[in-house]
């Protein structure tokens, strides 16, 4: 929690990974608990494989929608290098939940830039805590890559200022309304993500 009793969560990844949807579900959970919420991202060209960073702030009253660098309570990285790119946004000693999967952009394939050798170690060297796991592999094991964002939401479940069940309910409610056949798989993905983060904490 920041000074003004506002929780700051930064969710980052690349276009198409479901970052914005995940943050929206998180926002719905916070609203269900009666919080004021603001959520912002700059996503103009994000659907073209660009960087997506989604800021979620909730508490009694939220003014600016933007998280100040150095004040995020939690950083959720849907991709390894993106977690590294944004780790300066965390408050000192803050926690990173990180998908270890690497999505390599064309500029790296073309040899113009290198992919960082060890994003996790770089983040840890800055004094942040990291819980890392392969969310894409977990999603694939469950049979659908698109479950990746629910895996990431599951990983967050034990690091929020409200019970995990509230978040799970917000996820299932969303799928019950739009894709009822996906409810059970999303429940499994949520639990798998939660377990992966717990295992990574050890």
């Amino acid at each position: 929690m920041s000074e003004q009793n506002v929780t700051n969560i930064l969710v980052v990844g690349i276009g198409g990974q479901g970052v914005m949807t995940a943050t929206e579900i998180l926002a719905e959970a916070a609203i269900a608990l009666g919080h004021d919420v603001k959520k912002t991202e700059v996503a103009g060209m994000a659907q073209r494989g660009g960087v997506v960073s989604s800021h979620l702030r909730f508490g009694a009253k939220v003014l600016s929608p933007q998280i100040m660098p150095g004040t995020a309570d939690l950083l959720v990285g849907f991709e390894a290098a993106e977690a590294m790119r944004w780790c300066h946004m965390l408050k000192p000693g803050g926690l990173v939940l990180m998908n270890t999967a690497r999505i390599v952009p064309p500029v790296v394939d073309l040899g113009l830039y290198d992919y960082p050798a060890n994003p996790q170690a770089t983040i840890e060297a800055r004094g942040f805590r990291v819980q890392a796991f392969d969310a894409m592999a977990i999603a694939l094991q469950l049979g659908d890559l698109r479950l990746g964002n629910t895996v990431m939401l599951g990983a967050m479940a034990d690091h929020l200022p409200f019970p995990a069940e509230v978040l799970l309910e917000a996820i299932l409610k969303r799928f019950a309304a739009r894709k009822p056949q996906m409810v059970e798989l999303n429940r499994q993905a949520f639990e798998a993500g939660r377990a992966a983060a717990t295992a990574a904490a050890r």
């Binding site: 959520k39 912002t40 103009g44 060209m45 494989g49 100040m68 660098p69």
Partner: protein, 619 residues
């Protein structure tokens, strides 16, 4: 999109600024709403189209959108028009005389400034239009305010028979916050009254309207001075008093909760006297406004001392992280230490999609030498990037045409053998490119035009346009026949070609041949955007590792599904040292377009074995 049952009144919803405005416009009983898509404004019309009992349309450009809204407002109905900041440049011809006629039905124009350039070619300040066109400007600071001000804007518009500008920025349009919504009011049905002195702006008639506009300015200034949207929040620390509007207001409250601050909601005409009185209660006045020093300049002209752009940046957003150090320096306080320097990571610019039909075009253009390529606004602007580097100019919608003609006519002796090619998308062509092509034809330009017809406004999410033959609800509409259209503009039929951009040899040959012919030709590509329903996926490909020689030809196509697994240095028989790039295809992403198969010399790219499970590439 099918109309959904709108949420009931008094519900508290998580809405973006765009969604909030859409709700308010619908509730206000608006009858006609028009827009051309453009980030960050697009969702206003997109969402409005899902509401019942309102006419919505994607117009061919912002000027036409505004004119449609003007007609509806002349007819006595409430009307709405939305655009991004640069759209107003296009619409301004209508706007600047609209201010003289005024309106009967309320007309609200929402303009979205892309402060921070998330997806735009410039960063301009639409608050100027209020001054330039003598129109009131509202500036919401979050979604709830966007909702409330959109509703208030209709009331003000009808009270003074004046079009109203709702100025938003990316940080309002795309931020979600809680909004308490209301019920829809009954549609106001007016009628058009014949009155040439009012509606026919001949010089004589217009001359008589100008004094009325000045009278209206005074009345609007009184509105602004008294408006409950321009409020003062008191604070104990009176060393500084802030004046702010839009998202900057929230940033000021976040960063300096103890300082007095004056919020501008109805910011044009500027409530100068209210600000003068506020300034007298604080030691120093600081104006926090994004982009231009507009309020600051007006206050200084009115003899009110203030600080502004001398201590704050003129570009980009004024987030708390920008404000706090600037104000600390002003007060002579220690500047908050920022240990928060970002880690160095490669850039991740937007890319073209896997299998995008533009890939074949840019791959081909990247292989042709001695060519200057004037580009345009759309996904295909990305052709300027790696690996193609095949686009040389971009400034505004449709500009590829006129600039190509100017490059042709203005060429120096050194460029006499250069070929000039223009690249433009279907929607951009219909928006503002057609006139430019007509000019090339009429004036005998030597330009080869590539018209990339992907049946969508791709960059903003695939909205319909007259080239897609789809209306705003996805309904069938007449589809423009581009070949016949350009022929009727005067392009010779033998100079018009329709080609499949996935057939690289045909595309290459057609472009090469037309470049040689010293007159205007138009090559139309005819495959749909991969993000729209028209696109049909094929079976994916994979790379046979044993056969890949590392030639790297496929990498030059620029498809994001192709990844280099490793590089090796090698020496050619000629003695030249080359770097080999061995590749794999992300089968889960590949849609089987076949573009990369064509330049693959060793035939190493083959249909993926469907019996193998999907593997993800790990580096």
């Amino acid at each position: 999109m099918a109309a959904v049952l709108p949420a009931p009144g008094h519900a508290r919803l998580l809405l973006s600024g765009n969604e909030a405005v859409a709700r308010a416009v619908w509730e206000a009983g608006c009858k006609v709403a028009a827009a051309y898509p453009g980030t960050p404004s697009t969702e206003m019309l997109e969402v409005l189209a899902t509401y019942p009992d309102i006419y919505t349309e994607w117009s061919v450009n912002e000027k036409v959108a505004l004119e449609v809204a003007i007609g509806a407002a002349y007819a006595g109905s409430r009307a709405f028009c939305a655009m991004k900041h640069v759209g107003m440049n296009v619409a301004s011809d209508a706007l600047m005389t609209l201010t003289l006629t005024g309106v009967i039905g309320g007309l609200v124009i929402a303009v979205a400034d892309d402060v921070g350039l998330s997806s735009s070619q410039n960063e301009q300040d639409s608050r100027f239009w209020g001054r330039f066109a003598h129109l009131p400007v509202f500036e919401p600071a979050d979604s709830q305010e966007a909702y409330a001000m959109a509703r208030a804007a209709f009331e003000l518009a009808e009270k003074h028979q004046v079009p109203v500008i709702l100025r938003m920025t990316t940080r309002i349009n795309h931020v979600k916050g809680l909004v308490t919504v209301g019920e829809r009011s009954a549609l106001t049905g007016g009628s058009f009254h014949k009155d040439p002195a009012r509606w026919v702006m001949t010089p004589a008639a217009a001359g008589k309207r100008i004094p009325l506009m000045f009278e209206r300015d005074k009345a609007l200034r009184d509105e602004a001075e008294a408006s409950p949207l321009n409020i003062i929040e008191n604070g104990a620390d009176k060393r500084l008093g802030f004046v702010a509007s839009g998202p900057a207001w929230m940033h000021v409250r976040e960063a300096f909760p103890d300082a007095p601050a004056l919020k501008l909601g109805l910011s044009c005409p500027l409530p100068v006297e209210k600000i003068r009185a506020f300034a007298a209660t604080v030691d120093k006045l600081v104006v926090v406004e994004e982009v231009e020093p507009l309020v600051e300049t007006e206050l200084k002209a009115a003899g009110i001392e203030c600080l502004g752009k001398d201590i704050l940046p003129r570009q980009g957003e004024l987030a708390p992280s920008v404000l706090k150090p600037a104000i600390a320096r002003l007060l002579g306080e220690p500047v908050p230490e920022t240990s928060a320097t970002p880690a160095q990571v490669f850039p991740r610019p937007p890319t073209m999609c896997v299998a995008c039909p533009h890939l074949g075009v840019y791959y081909t253009l990247s292989q042709i030498k001695n060519l200057t390529i004037s580009g345009d606004i759309g996904c295909y602007t990305l052709g300027a990037g790696h690996p193609w580097n095949a686009l040389d100019t971009t400034i505004s919608m449709g500009a590829s045409m006129g600039i190509a003609l100017g490059l042709d006519k203005g060429r120096g002796e050194a460029d006499k053998d250069k070929r000039i090619l223009a690249v433009i998308g279907d929607s951009t062509f219909l928006h503002m490119g057609m006139q430019g092509l007509l000019d090339i034809v009429y004036n005998g330009g030597n330009v080869t035009v590539l018209l990339l017809d992907n049946r969508a406004v791709g960059m903003t999410g695939g909205q319909g346009n007259p080239g897609s033959g789809k209306g705003i609800h996805g309904d069938e509409r007449p589809r423009v026949d581009f070949a016949r259209l350009v022929e009727s503009l005067g392009v010779k039929p033998e100079r018009v070609h329709v080609v499949d951009p996935y057939q690289l040899p045909v595309l290459f040959k057609t472009i090469r041949e037309e470049l040689k012919i010293p007159e205007v030709s138009v090559i139309i590509t005819n495959q749909p955007c991969v993000l729209i329903d028209d696109y049909k996926k094929q079976k994916p490909f994979e790379v046979l590792e044993a056969k890949c020689t590392g030639c790297g030809n496929c990498v030059e196509v620029g498809c994001p599904a192709i990844h280099v697994t490793h590089r090796e240095k090698a020496v050619k028989p000629s003695g030249k040292e080359v770097e080999l790039q061995f590749v794999r295809i992300e089968t889960a992403a590949c849609t089987g377009c076949g573009l990369c198969v064509q330049p693959c010399a060793p035939d190493a790219i083959v249909p993926a074995d469907p019996t193998q499970p999907i593997r993800l590439i790990k580096h």
